[in-house]
Symmetry: C2
Subunit: 164 residues, 2 copies
Amino acid sequence: MKMNEGIEWAIHCCSLLAHLPDDATLPVGALAEFFEVPQAYLAKNLQLLSRAKIVSSAKGPGGGYRLARKAEQISLLDVVQAIDGRDPCFRCSEIRQRGPSAVAASNYRKPCGIARTMLKAEKVWRDELKKVSILDIKELGIQETNPAQARKAEDWLTHVLRFP
Amino acid sequence: MKMNEGIEWAIHCCSLLAHLPDDATLPVGALAEFFEVPQAYLAKNLQLLSRAKIVSSAKGPGGGYRLARKAEQISLLDVVQAIDGRDPCFRCSEIRQRGPSAVAASNYRKPCGIARTMLKAEKVWRDELKKVSILDIKELGIQETNPAQARKAEDWLTHVLRFP
DNA sequence: GGCAGGTTACTCGGATAGCGATTGTCCGAGTTGATCTGG
DNA sequence: CCAGATCAACTCGGACAATCGCTATCCGAGTAACCTGCC
């Protein structure tokens, strides 16, 4: 079980976008430069965030991405599910209904105990991610970023940022 | 993020093996027949369980697999990690150390907040799986299996089971 | 000088290849149990 | 009839292909700004 690499990028991007003034946007190229990741692949992931209404996009010169909602209204779970999909990790193929001990399908109304247990554990995981918002992530980042890096980032932002 | 298909099989197999009398074994062929899954691939997964000391194997005629410990001493997490490995789903590639705002590596001693948050959620998930034992799964199965199926399964077992 | 039209450049969006991990399969190593033979 | 060796069948274990999803990329659609020419 391996999580999509783009999830890390997406969260970092959301955290960075949360630092932007209202209505300011950043194009994919700038985000890719800031994180030193492949621009085309990052674009694909931002596209997924756009579909999920987590970020909103603006085309044309001066365009780019910005958060579609306030940072405190975007949970980590939203981002993870936007990139990785909302299907559960564990997939029950109902093998209990196969083999020599199988009985009529009408006897299997409830999901089997194994699936219920696995899905319950996933729900606990999702609930944990739902508790954390992009604003929380942003503030965590501010706390643990040293001043030199913070100023370099701010300088960089002032160079690439463009207001509508 | 998609979980290995073999995990479902492995848990079902452990649950079935928990029904066996002490020292009785089941070969891969019997397990594959019971669940109607490809024998060769199931063998590969049982091999992983064997390496993890969750089941113990016996070669030769009359051999097969049995639980290496008591069912209540095997957690679902043990099985999941035996099949899927113990690496975390979320992998932090430290992209904060890249790009124009990067500073000397010595400034990044703690893992970044995003990684800590994601890994904490995974820990909650693991703790939930650790709470549940194969014995619990077995008893859940007994509760929700209808009598007809239970007898068919028991009949089948008496035909394929062999004692040492 | 102001405005309208066209052009240009910049941005996102979806469709398109490449690669690695999961899935699926096979054959050899090892062990047990039965069988056969000789006493 | 019994003991020992041999043999054969059965089992697991690791090494070997095929398929699917993730990774990576490119080109077209759309839009805003700009430039130019005319009024």
